[in-house]
């Protein structure tokens, strides 16, 4: 417990968290501080490329083992399964309609790559290694949850024509970039990494700071302008679902025998909720679902929770579970 607090304290005072807080505060105070859309997109391209490439290069360095395939399978299963858990909770805890609940559930089965990146930074800061292929696990967890949500809605009776939706989801820019740069990193390995290291490694933390500043601004603006008015139980869901997700992720990770770092990251992936790929898919696939509910929950509640308290908890738990001290 003391360890978690220390870790949480350290985490809260890291530049990236403080940058997020700055953005949040600025937006809530109605400052006109803003990051241009093109710059925000440019930074997200940079982060996805860097994280994918580094993961691929790490796999190239360590060789592919059975662990990779098992971890990917675990990720796919989790992404399919978590929405059912979330949906059940939402329907019993909150007054959300079937469609709104399914849409929210899709977000929690999928992942937040920035939360993943932030967790990677914390692990690096503590010198805890993780399997390089966890990036690939992140990529495969983006999409399956969307199918589960559609299944949940279809069960409820409203069938819908979804020509080309699946292709659109799998070819989503962030998935393609993450998988593509992972493969490039795996192919070019240490040589490739050496060539572009001073681009994707050294300035990474700094770019992450500015990116989180922007995330804070967007989250704050969302909280301020949202007409949703989340019910109290919905907020409670946004704070407990990450813990439940992390627990299920821990279970899966222990079964397949991940290292401390890998376990922590699988917990983070399971705990985090999407706010890029899934919202866009929902606008196409479940337009009746209210976007301000799922956006506010995912970006305004769960993302800050994971960033500040969640990550330290998951890292501490992973250490305890794998017998590694902090």
């Amino acid at each position: 417990m003391g360890e978690i607090l220390t870790l949480a304290g350290e985490n809260l005072l890291s530049p990236i968290i403080l940058c997020f807080a700055l953005g949040l505060a600025a937006a809530l105070a109605r400052s006109d501080l803003s990051v241009p859309e093109a710059v925000a997109k440019g930074m997200s391209i940079y982060l996805l490329f860097a994280i994918g490439f580094k993961g691929g290069a790490a796999v190239a360095a360590n060789g592919i083992d059975a662990g990779l395939l098992m971890a990917i399978a675990a990720g796919v299963v989790l992404s399919f399964a978590l929405p059912f858990v979330a949906f059940g909770l939402l329907r019993s805890m909150t007054g959300l309609s079937r469609i709104d609940a399914a849409a929210v559930a899709a977000h929690y089965g999928s992942i937040s790559i920035v939360t993943f990146v932030a967790a990677t930074s914390v692990l690096e800061g503590r010198g805890i290694a993780a399997e390089g292929y966890m990036v690939a696990v992140a990529a495969v967890m983006e999409a399956p949850a969307i199918l589960s949500a559609l299944f949940l809605v279809a069960k409820g009776g409203s069938s819908r024509q979804q020509d080309g939706l699946m292709q659109e989801i799998l070819l989503n820019g962030s998935i393609v970039l993450l998988v593509g740069s992972f493969l490039i990193g795996a192919v070019t390995g240490a040589d490739g990494l050496a060539k572009i290291e001073s681009f994707i490694v050294s300035p990474f933390q700094g770019v992450l700071c500015l990116f989180l500043l922007d995330m804070g601004l967007v989250a704050g603006r969302g909280l301020r302008e949202s007409k949703a008015g989340l019910s109290r139980m919905t907020v409670v869901f946004g704070l407990t679902m990450p813990l439940i997700g992390a627990a299920l992720g821990a279970l899966a990770g222990l079964v397949i025998g991940l290292s401390t770092g890998g376990l922590a990251l699988l917990m983070v992936l399971s705990a985090s909720a999407s706010y890029i790929a899934v919202p866009a898919a929902m606008r196409v696939a479940l337009p009746e679902a209210n976007p301000s509910i799922y956006l506010t929950l995912s970006l305004g509640i769960t993302f800050p929770f994971n960033l500040t308290l969640g990550i330290p908890i998951y890292v501490a738990a992973a250490s305890a579970l794998t017998g590694g001290g902090l």
Binding site: S34, V35, P36, E37, A40, K41, S44, G173, S174, D214, L217, V218, R221, E225, S226, K227, Y275, I276, A277, P279, A280, A281, R283, V284, P287, E288, N290, P291, S292
Partner: protein
């Protein structure tokens, strides 16, 4: 300068649906359209702004100049996409140069 009657149709629609809408327009035989970026807005679902957003969020404005007699098929095509989604469709009378293009 000689001008010809036309309709100017403006469809403001969510960005993730842009491709569906333009595919539907092309299928309906629309020969041309122009897509303008939208920076923000307000409606029943509240205010929004594109600033700092990542992902295909926000809305776009698709402008279509068309011969008056083809308006209905265009609106039908647009409506199949807009119907269940957030979007606003408006039509104005216009004059165009070089009618052979429309």
């Amino acid at each position: 300068m000689e001008t010809h009657n036309a309709k100017r149709v403006e469809i403001v629609i969510e960005a993730p649906l842009e491709r569906r809408l333009t595919d539907a327009l092309e299928e309906a035989g629309v020969t041309g359209f122009t897509i303008l970026p939208v920076q923000g807005g307000s409606g029943r679902s509240g205010r929004w702004s594109r600033e700092g957003q990542i992902g295909r969020s926000g809305m776009v404005s698709v402008v279509c100049l068309i011969r008056p007699d083809r308006l209905d098929s265009l609106l039908d095509a647009a409506f199949t996409v807009v119907e269940r989604h957030i979007g606003v469709v408006s039509v104005t009378d216009a004059q165009v140069l070089r009618a052979e293009r429309f």
